[in-house]
Symmetry: C2
Subunit: 457 residues, 2 copies
């Protein structure tokens, strides 16, 4: 029964995607406006469903089975959340069209032109946490980029999700885009069935814990764009400036400790242990950051007189597992290493390949660090917290990918497109391969400068 | 035991990759020249090992357990195969460096610059057929693009493969690149163990049958870039020119029927069944192509008087499975459909999303076909046989991807790279996120025009 449903849903999504390929991209913007209107028209019933989700969640919280934080996230009527959800649709509508642009064009011969054109991927399966506004956000990104999407939110928000998805489909009904372009599913069993349907689904985007991502990767042939955890670090080089060190280490840790781009580990070059480290440590302790120190960095602090503020209650020895832990809190693991080479090796072994920063005045060290550290972001004298689609200038963010394939780092709308090659012969009798070769015609490969494919309507 | 070996091999590959990140890309070109020299120096023993592989294969052929074609492919001393294998190394060495170029650059603030830089992916696991020269070809591509590689060829060429890999490592020993940068493995059990090691291996590239690709996709978390089968088609539109139709259909089928970009299916708009189809059919039959026809296309041929040449022995009715079969031979499935819309739907359901071509004089039809057909290549009045990395102007080809993620269609060196973001603050006290926000600094996102990252050595 479930399998049957999943198959129907996936097939409907693929059909909707294929039909929509002939619709102009301006209609996708119209659709976003219609969806916004439809959500506004159905606001009362969506909020009522949300209140039901909240009531049920409240019982769970009182029984100690759910955190109060999760409850807050469920609330769609809290503060300006509803309005900013609707504004988000307009923001996405206003972004440049990620499809249709030509990234490579070449005349293989007179009157034979090849174009590599950005186009949607197909059907996305997006699995995310219990934050109902994400349904609207992901639907907007999918529509703007020309992809159909099947959405699965956290089960705690199921009632809200169903009505949001219905309002989205009602909006699509007023456009040329098929209403099954965006569909929502409710159960994990449906997800499992969908993961088998690689003939219909082209990309799975799980947003959530590392274990969720790994579990999905283990159970599907479909490519997975993982948005996993972040274990970022800052390395204070022997050539570091103390002011920069304090500012970058502090901001990376305390600006928003629960974010994946917050720093979890501080690596000190051994030559700064008695020079820069005490100042950095004092600033961290004043900001109430708990320090898990290796013996060398701990000894250096112990020798200080007077001891830094909060030393007794905030400084303790690290354990080997400290350096593989994403604290997501005001906690920082500290280690001293003898060289930049060992720092690079340490980061490559322990970090999650998200974002790592070096504090240094040396161009040689900056270059070695940025080349040697195998992470999506490698920074010089800048906080790891800059790793974010909005800060990078993408206008929005699908997530941050710690994988290397297709998209890496903060992923904007560009991460939701692929390309196809279009070729047109304008020769009087078309073009065939048999005319080329030794003693015959040769390929010309003359670069063409075009922004879009001339023969497309 | 096998698991232990696999782990050591994979870890050595990752370490070699990471160490090589600090080596300049010009050294990779030096390495290719050294490998060529080393292969030349070890030619006698490699050829002896190849002769042993051939002797053993010959026994299998005589026992009817192996095809003579496979035997021929094993022979490294046949014709100019050895010399063109060595020339291939120089060709790859001469290609532009696919790494180091900047595809996006922006000043997020005064003195805060962000760069998206092409860089290698990491460790590749490449599994391919029993053609020993592929070892050298793949090794060249991996080294040129800065990736470490673990290679597994067909077991029939094991002796040759081992010595080729040894000669490659001997060449690397004369350079700064670690010798474990390129490693060869021999058994399927080793492949199975390696597929579990996603902490070391970043991309699997299986070259071979659809079942090989699917089997690997089912058994690993590591991303797979599949080079699967090709089920290409040509659609003769109602607005087709007869000369173009004959030339494009014929070339797509007969230029090299065993290639993945050869056409397997001919789709006819119903309005050309009694106009263009008889001429196309006659040309196909004259070229000895077997036609598997649906009832409408078959009836049209039956009504011809006189019958086309070879009609009796080459024309037969199709079955439903004809349209899902990659013939790889002088066989063509033929179907008549009532519209371009139904042709697009048919292709999207039956083709392998490789390359499909329309023959038409109509720009409207060309545009609809190229947008609506969800394949890596969509052509107008050109043979499907153009789908090839060399013909596209990439200089070489890793393979042809029918997937949509990361690389699609013919994959050149560009398909073996990813990108990372580098960021540098040149501000007197570095850059922190806490300085930006409402009532504080705003992001400037000023586009920068640079080809490479200025601060890299």
């Amino acid at each position: 029964m479930t399998t049957f449903n999943a198959h129907d849903i996936a097939k409907a999504a693929k059909t909707a995607f294929q039909e929509a390929q002939l619709i102009s991209s301006s209609e996708r913007v119209v659709a976003l406006y219609e969806i916004r209107k439809s959500l506004e028209a159905h606001k009362a019933e969506i909020i009522r469903a949300n209140e039901e989700d909240l009531r049920e969640a409240d019982v769970e919280v009182k029984a100690g089975k759910m955190s109060a934080t999760l409850l807050k996230r469920l609330d769609l009527n809290r503060g300006d959340k509803w309005d900013s959800m609707l504004q988000g649709i307009l923001d996405v509508a206003a972004l440049p069209d990620p499809t249709g642009s030509v990234s490579y064009a070449s005349a293989l011969d007179d009157d034979l032109e090849l174009y590599r054109v950005a186009c949607p991927i197909g059907v996305l399966l997006v699995i995310f946490e219990a934050r109902p506004e994400v349904v609207v956000n992901i639907a907007s990104l999918a529509i703007k980029s020309g992809n159909a999407a099947i959405l699965k939110g956290g089960k705690e928000s199921n009632r809200t999700t169903i009505l949001l998805a219905k309002a989205i489909s009602a909006g699509l009904l007023k456009t040329a885009i098929p209403e099954s372009y965006i569909q929502a599913i409710q159960t994990r069993a449906e997800v499992s069935s969908l993961l088998e349907l690689d003939q219909y689904i082209d990309l799975v985007i799980p947003r959530g814990s590392n274990s969720l991502v790994k579990n999905i990767q283990n159970n599907t042939r479909i490519p997975v764009m993982g948005h996993a955890d972040g274990l970022c670090s800052v390395f204070v080089d022997e050539h570091a400036d103390v002011t920069k060190a304090v500012r970058v280490v502090l901001d990376s840790k305390i600006d928003y400790p629960a974010a994946c781009n917050a720093s979890e580990t501080l690596i000190l070059h051994e030559s700064v242990v008695y020079t820069i480290w005490p100042t950095v440590a004092e600033a961290l302790l004043q900001a109430n950051v708990k320090l898990l120190c290796d013996s060398v960095s701990l000894d250096a602090l112990k020798q200080l007189s007077p001891k830094p503020p909060n030393f007794e209650n905030l400084v303790s020895p690290s354990t080997p597992s400290s350096y593989d832990t994403e604290h997501l809190d005001l906690i920082l693991s500290v280690i001293v290493l003898p060289s930049i080479q060992s720092a690079i090796q340490f980061i490559n072994s322990h970090s999650s390949h998200h974002t790592d920063s070096i504090v240094t005045e040396s161009d040689v060290a900056a270059s070695a660090f940025c080349r040697g550290v195998d992470s999506a972001g490698t920074y010089v004298n800048a906080s790891t917290r800059f790793a974010d689609g909005f800060r990078y200038g993408f206008g929005t963010e699908v997530g941050i990918s710690t994988g290397r394939i297709h998209a890496r780092g903060p992923v904007g709308l560009d991460g939701l497109v692929t390309y196809k090659y279009m070729m047109q012969s304008k020769a009087p009798s078309g073009h065939i391969v048999g005319e080329f070769g030794i003693g015959k015609k040769q390929y010309k490969h003359k670069p063409l400068t075009v922004a879009t494919v001339p023969f497309l309507e």
